[in-house]
């Protein structure tokens, strides 16, 4: 089943890339799908400059990791470049889906839900192939793949980390987390959670306690990250990429509109306020990692899912890929669904915003009748929907921990 799912996903992507070559370019023009740090057009620009021997990070266009340049260059030595790129994208998606299926297999046996209610039939977790299918055919992620957003690689690295961690592979988890960190920075905050996940899933009983284990894991991840940075430097030929890649992610200085909360604020803001509010916004992305890690230390996979949702909500350049990976991980916690309080309002808010976002963007940019406020208003609705989703999931898990889902006063709307 899993192989068939993966094959279907691969075929669907290859069909899009080869039979509809105009689709990636069209989708790349949609700000919901591609951002300055994931745009395929910018990657091509970077590749071109790189091949010409010009520093791709000089022009202020290219904000993606040198690893991507290196990977494409390496594979295009064997096959033509367009095919090399397509192969990399398909492989990344398949890796991610396969890793999620592996994770699901382990998670089904390791996550313990304690339902006290006797007459509630506890919904079973989804089968691994369904989890893989949800990842491969999730419209949000499929759009990202079709647009060749480089967030695909970031997602693959995160998913691979999860698979490695749930199977207790210490070194692999650290390496793939370091890779994800190098691609998009934010996964760095996941290190404690991944170490908790590893700790809980290591096959043999461990002699070290969680803190020591976590420290060792973080140290190892940091060394891997440093090693990959050195490799990046070797590929790029200079350290310019640090500012262009991580500087852009941290300061959010490219104000191209996206579905996030940053760009509108910072276009409106006086320059001298910018450093302060950049700090405030970045703290928001970072801040929630600590309480989630502490509170859900016994459910690290759940904590990781929550945190990925928060990253999608608060980072400077969120796109459909970030939302998509969150909603691909949520099905892991199917037993929680009956305990959610606001599934319909959240679902409707996200559904309506997903249709109105492109509509309002079209009205603003192409028809000239709407303006930035229209688009931004809908990004707020979307953010509201995401907030409700995340807080509702948190609440459901807390309730399950508290009383096993027994509260007779629950009502779901």
């Amino acid at each position: 089943m899993e192989v068939a799912t993966l094959a279907c996903g691969a075929i669907a992507r290859i069909v899009v890339y080869h039979l509809f070559p105009s689709v990636p370019a069209t989708l790349d023009g949609h700000v919901e799908i591609s951002t300055p740090v994931t745009s395929f057009k910018r990657l091509q620009e970077g590749l071109y400059l790189y091949k010409q021997g010009i520093d791709p990070y000089d022009g202020g266009i290219f904000h993606q990791s040198p690893l991507l340049l290196g990977a494409v260059s390496a594979v295009s030595k064997i096959v033509p470049e367009t095919i090399a790129i397509n192969i990399l994208y398909v492989l990344a998606d398949l890796t991610a889906a396969w890793a999620l299926a592996q994770t699901a297999q382990r998670a089904a046996t390791t996550i313990k839900y304690v339902f006290k209610k006797k007459d509630t039939k506890e919904p079973l977790p989804f089968a691994p192939w369904i989890i893989a299918a949800i990842y491969l055919f999730n419209p949000l992620l499929f759009l990202s793949s079709a647009a060749k957003s480089t967030a695909v690689f970031n997602n693959a690295a995160i998913c691979y980390t999860l698979a490695a961690a749930t199977h207790g592979h210490f070194l692999t988890a650290a390496a793939s987390l370091a890779l994800a960190t190098n691609l998009s920075y934010y996964p760095i905050y996941l290190a404690p959670l991944v170490s908790l996940l590893l700790h809980g899933n290591s096959g043999t009983p461990l002699r070290t306690n969680k803190a020591q284990y976590g420290f060792r894991f973080c140290l190892l991840s940091a060394s891997y990250t440093a090693a990959i940075l050195l490799l990046s430097q070797a590929i790029a030929g200079s350290w310019n990429f640090l500012g262009a890649v991580y500087g852009t992610i941290l300061t959010g200085r490219d104000l191209t509109p996206n579905i996030g909360l940053w760009w509108y604020f910072f276009t409106e803001m006086f320059d001298f306020f910018q450093p302060f509010f950049t700090g405030v916004f970045q703290i928001h992305v970072f801040l929630y990692a600590a309480p989630i890690t502490l509170r859900f230390s016994s459910f690290p996979l759940f904590a990781i899912t929550l945190y990925l949702g928060l990253v999608a909500l608060f980072k400077a350049y969120p796109d459909t890929a970030d939302v998509g990976i969150f909603f691909s991980l949520v099905p892991f916690f199917r037993p929680l669904f009956p305990l959610l309080r606001y599934p319909i309002p959240a679902f409707l808010a996200l559904l309506y915003s997903s249709v109105l976002l492109p509509t309002f963007f079209h009205m603003w940019i192409y028809l000239g009748s709407g303006n930035a406020n229209f688009f931004y208003a809908i990004t707020l609705v979307y953010a509201l929907g995401m907030t409700v989703c995340i807080s509702d999931l948190t609440w459901a898990m807390l309730r399950l921990e508290h009383d096993g889902g027994e509260d007779p006063n629950l009502s779901q709307i």
Partner: protein, 616 residues
């Protein structure tokens, strides 16, 4: 997957639900919001609900510039008019052909000193073809950077098929006159398209894609329409402003023209109605009631009725512009160009043809002042009179309420679905199949020859007409024992949710289309599967059927529904109006889904609603 939505039913079964009784009210709430949404429109023209227009963009300074296109120019207008009339006559008499006519007209513009060019256009579909040649000339601004332009248009044939002799002569005389001024900071393009529909639309498209002689980004466009050849006087000015696909020009442009007219005491009219006309209220109300209300009250009522009429007629025009009427200004839609059509009305009045020219002159002077593209004022509005309007924040809730009735019913249907094993995937499959089939039919019809459209449509009509009857006569298919069937309630819920979603998005782009579509299909909310609802379902299927309304509209317009579909097809080809796609990609599939749902078998449907209140 089925867990992703509601769990209410499961909880109700376990008997510890709080607040689920309100679910039973959802259909009523759905009806209520759609009724409120419809009534919302009637509230808008009430005193206190609308606003008076105001000029938002300070740079425009409407009506401030002295206009000098006066009696001294009248002789030129008269001369050009004579010439144009002569050309019209000799073309009608067969003395000159189209090419000679065009070279004459081009000669006038060239003699003035404009750079001129021709644009040959055609909108083809197999053997059918609309074609012609447009003439245009560019006046380069003496103090501009050649990056921006204004456009003045006088179509050879106007929207009513008349020869626009007055408009063209004013245009040429204005070209001659405006050329002498040194105030222009934007180029002026003078266009004489062969008609006000596809010809102008093709020119605008070509201007942005293929024409060699261009003059920069177009900031604004004015279309002149003065068909009364016999008289050089007129009574009032009519303004047309609707664009294609529900687009409207910036309200500041209309304000500018209205203010320019008011500085000369020239009355402006929109939708052919003024507030002080005798409305249907005054006409048909019995005398006794009139006396009861008294003169003052009657006056208020009369003005309200007229504002309502103007608003509704504006919505109708928004719906039909580019399909059945093309005043000219709509051709600029989609290129971020604000355009209006000015039309001289009447033959006796105190105003002469140079007043009409001064309106164009004054408006051009205002546009010329712009430092930025029109952006300050409203792009979404309903006009109630040339100086009264309601903006999007006030009118949009009407459409949104109507569209919100669909998800409300969807929630109800999903929440009360019978608790038996069903397949959500099958529901999705049915919906995708129906949408795919209808969209494909719609798409195929756009590419087949016109002669083939008729038979295909006739068979579609017949099949569609049979569907509701079938749903009554034919026995419901027995449920397949082997696998879980699609639950009709769920299929309907998903399709309604989808319908609400798309119409809401549509309401922000094309308010009139969404409002009309929402109201015509609002009865989908009351489809219920099962034989117990056969009669009501049949009625609903008839009143929500797109063909019913095509026939009805055809009857009102004294044409056949096929002609209306042909108009939709041609508007898609020539004007890129996507009402056709909405018909075949949204309305028809939703209706077919309603038919499928209404004839699906469902055990004791009454139980699912009535039983809901039964506390276990």
């Amino acid at each position: 997957m089925s867990r992703l939505g509601l769990e209410i039913y499961a909880k109700w079964r376990t008997g510890w639900v709080y607040g689920t009784r309100s679910i039973g009210w959802l259909p009523l709430l759905s009806l209520l919001v759609s009724v409120i949404g419809a009534l919302w429109l009637a509230v808008l023209p009430l005193d206190g609900q609308y606003r008076y227009t105001y000029v938002s963009e300070n740079a425009l300074l409407p009506g401030q510039a002295h206009t000098h296109f006066r009696e001294s120019e009248w002789n030129h207008v008269r001369a050009y008019k004579q010439e144009i009339q002569a050309i019209v006559n000799s073309e009608a008499g067969g003395h000159i052909n189209e090419q000679e006519r065009i070279s004459h007209v081009r000669g006038y513009l060239a003699d003035i000193g404009l750079k001129t060019s021709l644009h040959e256009w055609s909108v083809d579909h197999f053997s059918e073809s609309y074609n012609g040649t447009n003439v245009y000339g560019v006046m380069h601004a003496p103090r501009g950077d050649n990056a921006e332009a204004m456009v003045l248009v006088a179509p050879w044939i106007n929207q009513d098929g008349e020869h626009n002799v007055g408009g063209i002569s004013v245009l040429i005389a204005l070209a001659r006159y405006l050329k002498r001024w040194s105030v222009w900071s934007k180029n002026i393009v003078f266009v004489i398209p062969s008609d006000s529909g596809f010809a102008l639309r093709s020119w605008v498209t070509a201007y942005h894609t293929s024409l060699a002689l261009t003059a920069g980004a177009i900031e604004g466009a004015i279309v002149l329409d003065y068909p009364e050849a016999s008289s050089e006087h007129f009574d009032f000015m009519e303004v047309f402003y609707e664009g294609l696909n529900g687009q409207l020009p910036n309200l500041d442009l209309i304000n500018t023209a209205v203010i320019a007219a008011s500085t000369e005491n020239l009355a402006t009219v929109i939708q052919g109605v003024t507030e002080d006309d005798e409305s249907f209220v005054k006409k048909y109300m019995p005398e006794s009631l009139k006396e009861f209300f008294g003169n003052q009250q009657m006056d208020v009522l009369n003005r309200y009725a007229n504002r309502l009429k103007i608003m509704l007629s504006g919505m109708t025009r928004q719906l039909t512009t580019g399909i059945s009427n093309s005043p000219g200004s709509e051709a600029f839609s989609g290129w971020r160009i604000d355009a209006i059509t000015l039309r001289a009305r009447g033959t006796t009045g105190p105003f002469d043809i140079t007043t009409f020219g001064r309106m164009a002159e004054s408006t051009l002077r205002s546009i010329n002042n712009l430092l930025e593209h029109f952006h300050q004022s409203f792009f979404f509005y309903l006009l109630l009179s040339p100086t009264k309007f309601v903006s999007i924040g006030t009118y949009l809730p009407g459409a949104v309420l109507v569209c919100a009735s669909f998800p409300l019913t969807a929630i109800y249907l999903y929440a009360t679905k019978p608790n038996r094993s069903t397949s959500l995937v099958k529901s999705f499959f049915i919906i995708i199949a129906v949408f795919g089939a209808c969209t494909t039919i719609g798409g195929v019809l756009t590419v087949v020859p016109t002669s083939a459209v008729g038979p295909v449509l006739t068979s579609l009509f017949v099949i569609s007409a049979c569907l509701p009857i079938l749903s009554v006569v034919a026995p419901s298919p027995p449920p397949h024992p082997a696998s879980a069937p699609a639950e009709p309630n769920v299929t309907l819920a998903i399709s309604l949710l989808l319908h609400g979603l798309v119409t809401t998005a549509l309401a922000t782009i094309n308010f009139s289309l969404a409002m009309v579509l929402g109201l015509l299909t609002v009865a989908f909310n009351f489809i219920r599967p099962g034989s117990a609802h056969t009669k009501s379902n049949l009625l609903i299927l008839i009143i929500t059927c797109p063909w019913t309304w095509l026939v009805a509209v055809g009857a009102v317009l004294h044409t056949s529904p096929f002609d209306i579909l042909q108009m939709l097809l041609w508007s898609l080809r020539g004007n890129q109006v996507w009402t056709w796609q909405v018909l075949f990609g949204l309305w028809l599939p939703q209706w077919v889904l309603a038919v499928i749902v209404s004839r699906s078998s469902t055990p004791a449907p009454a139980q699912s609603t009535v039983g809901y209140f039964r506390k276990q």
